[in-house]
Structures are given as C-alpha cells and as structure tokens.
Amino acid sequence: MKTSYDAIVIGGGILGVSIAYELARAGMKNICVLEKHYLASGSTGRCGGGFRQQWSTEHNTQLAMDSVKRLEGLEQELEYNCEMFQGGYLILAHTDADVAQFEKNVAMQRRLGLDVNMVDPAEAKKIVPHLDTSLIKKATWCPKDGHINPFLLTQGYANAAKRLGVDVHLWTDVTSIMKKSNVFFVMTNTGFTYQAPIVFNCAGGFAREIGKMLNVDIPVDPYRHEILVTEPVERLWNPMVISFTVGLYARQEANGGVVMGCGDPNEPVGTYVGSSMHFMYDMSKRFTTLFPKLGNLRIVRQWAGLYEMTADAQPILGPVDEVENFYQASGFSGHGLMLAPAVAMYMAKMVTTGEVHPEIQGLRASRFKGMKEVHREKSVV
C-alpha cells in the first residue's frame, strides 16, 4: 500500500476534500486525505448548508464573494448535482442598533461590489410571506446568496479528486505526527504511517488537537450548535432567513423540509454533539415568534454539530510560524462550507505557485499573537 505522498490533508470535511481537489487540479500528484470516520461526518455534514456574502468584516465578505463565484458552475465541473440553489439571504434587523450596524455592513459590502440592498418590512414580506414583519424595522437582502447540500458537495469534490488520482483513506484516525528532516510522519490507528513534505490541518473542531501533535497552538475552540429539520412541505420561501436578535436561521431544503438552528451563549467548550430537549423548546419558541402561522409544522429530527470558534470569528488560514509546511484551514466559526471553495483555491495556489493571496496573509494564525483588541465578526448566529 502506498504511504508516501507529496501532500497529506488531515480531515475529510468540505475543507479537506476541496483542498485536495484544488491541489490535484493545480497539477500536484500524490495527495491523500485522512478522515477519522467517513466524508462529512464532522461539522460539514451537520451544518445548515447556507452560503452568504453578507458579513461585517471585509475578509469574510471578500472570501465569501470569491466562494460564490467559484460555486457558480462548480456542479458542472465536478459533474455532480449538489442541490445548489441561489435563493438569496434575508437578514432581519429588529432594533435601531441592528439597522445602524447593517447600514454600515451594506455600505462596506457594496464597496466590495456585492449586489445587496436594505429592504423595508413590506418588501421582506414579499420575499418571505410567512414572516411576522411587525417585529422587524428593516432587512438586508442579497439575491445571489443561497444554499447547497453539504453531503453532496463534499462527495462531489471527493469523487472529482479521486478521478484526478487523490487517495481518500476513510476510518483512519491520526494519532500522532512527527517531523524529521523536512518530512512529516503521520501515524494513524490503522497501523499505517503516512509521510509527506506538506501537511494540511483541516480537522475542524479537532484542529487544536492536530496542532498539539506538532506543538503548535491553533487557537480554535469547538462549541456545540444544535439544529433541527421539519417534515417536508410545499415551498414556503426561497431564501435563508437569519435573525441575530432572535438568534435563528431557517431555510427550506430541496425536498421541502425546513432546516433551522440557533446558538446558545451558555454552551461550554467541548466536542460533545448530543441533542437536548431544551433546544427543541427554545427553537420552537424562536421560530414561532418569527413565523406565528407555522406553529403546527412538525419537527422530524434534531441533531448537533461543532462551531469551531476563533477569537474574531474568522478562519485561520495558511502557514504557521513554528513549523514549516504545516498549513492551516480551520476555525471557520460555523461557516466553513460557504468559504471553502475560495479558501481551497487560494491554499492550492499558495502551495503550488508560492503566490500568497492577501486574504490568506491577513488570516494567518500569527495575527492573534500580542493582539489586544479583537475586531470580531458580528454576523454570526
């Protein structure tokens, strides 16, 4: 069995497979992906599936815009139907403070060239007819945002990568890593030790543990984030609806079920992903506040995943100072799926041509060192 590669990608989530695919596409041979369970078994497969370009920081907005550009036409390139649907994103402003913040965001986003608008409650009602618009003052609307099926996108990337010669090793847990004379030795629970001069850490909620194996601190903390889905019903609305004040996001899947989730500020750090009764109640309450007419919609299933949070809720990308050729793509703070297409492209370009994209330069792990004031991304549910 082949154990010597040019690059090893740790993690079979959306970041891992998309980076492997982009590397292979850029001409690199001998790449392998190591995944602890199966593809998209971690945060990727548990996420809400939306992609949006409406952010409060420029880094995130720019990366998200590049991602959406990459996603358009990606299904044809991968030859895989990923249920991509550009139904838009409607973000609700409930208070004057929200309106002021969103006006700032929209001004910044428009400066970067995004087609985004402030709309009044009447227009919002037209976009999402079931919404109780007496609760909102304004909303921001970007028609080019949308949602995608995370399992299918991951599988699509993986299939395309395999066609280009990438090896995907499932059920392979990385137990330790050693670096000796510029070669990484990645030891796994299957007994095989894989070696390569380059290693990518795309382990999501477990990125910190992978970093520890090489004595590198990756400041990423995983938090549980719960989510549920309702029975399939006829089309209610097209966009993803987000409210930071009520604290919820909701979208209707391709098959008709409504997927929704919310954050809990009291959640402790940890990788536990069980479900709680309190969430079901809390979510019901929040959802029926915004959509009073949908109180009799039935919940089919609830589950949870990990938000891998950084201090400023922006990802950690690129090389680290401590170990050469150990690249990071983690800490996406709940937004890995929507940023992955662009991040993968830039990471592959950086490794194969040496050209460092400004977004990657600005989002390196070293930015946290000696940081006194954190400019946190505000648009996080």
Binding site: Y38, L39, A40, S41, G45, F151, L152, Q155, A158, N159, V168, L170, E231, N255, S275, M277, M280, Y281, S284, K285, F287, T288, L294, G295, N296, L297, R298, I299, V300, R301, Q302, W303
Partner: protein, 113 residues
C-alpha cells in the same frame, strides 16, 4: 424499480449508487441518498439497506451498525413542544415554591447545608 425507503421514495438503485461511490455504512447512505431521513427515521428501510450493504460488500449483517436515531421519536408540532415543555417547567416551579412555604422547614435545611 424497488422502493427501499418509503418516506423519501428511495430506490434500490439509488442505494447501490451510494455504495459505488464508496459508502460502506448506513450513516453514509443516509447522508448521500436520504434513505432513513424521513419521518420514520429508517424504521422500515434500515433492515433493507443493511441487507443491500451486506450483499454488495459481502459483510455479515451483524457488522453493519444502525445509523443514529435522533429525537424526537415521532414527528411533533412546534406548538405541542412548547405547550408540553412549559407545562413541565411550571410543574417544577410549583414543586420548588412549595418547600420553603412549609413553615421554617426550608430555612432550617438551608442552614444545615
């Protein structure tokens, strides 16, 4: 055409396509083709999909583990969840409020602790 999952209208051919893409467990098949994602959460299709995996990958049935069962057990409306949860919370509150009102007992207990 054989229907395997009745909730999501999934055929045997679709399950086979997932296995051809490298799926070896019920969890992977559930995520790729949605067999077992419907209201019954795989009560009907689980056995059938297990049989297909066992036949295709030549694995004994005992080695094919069921996928995760997730709450709620049966589909429940939002309104019912809220009503029931609030009822339980009120009941809890009623029980906790009663204790200190039983003359001095509550206070004495606090002091002991």
């Amino acid at each position: 055409m054989k229907i395997v999952c009745r909730c999501q209208d999934i055929t045997e051919e679709e399950v086979l396509s997932a296995i051809r893409q490298g799926a070896t467990t019920l969890d992977e098949i559930k995520r790729l083709v949605r067999a077992g994602m419907g209201p019954c959460q795989g009560r009907t299709c689980r056995r059938l999909v297990q049989q297909i995996i066992s036949r295709e990958l030549k694995k004994p049935m005992a080695e094919i583990h069921p996928s995760t069962f997730r709450p709620p057990n049966l589909p429940v409306p939002f309104n019912l969840v809220m009503a029931e949860y609030e009822k339980i919370e009120k009941e809890k509150e009623r029980k906790t409020v009663r204790k200190p009102s039983a003359k001095g007992k509550g206070k004495a207990k606090e002091g002991d602790a």
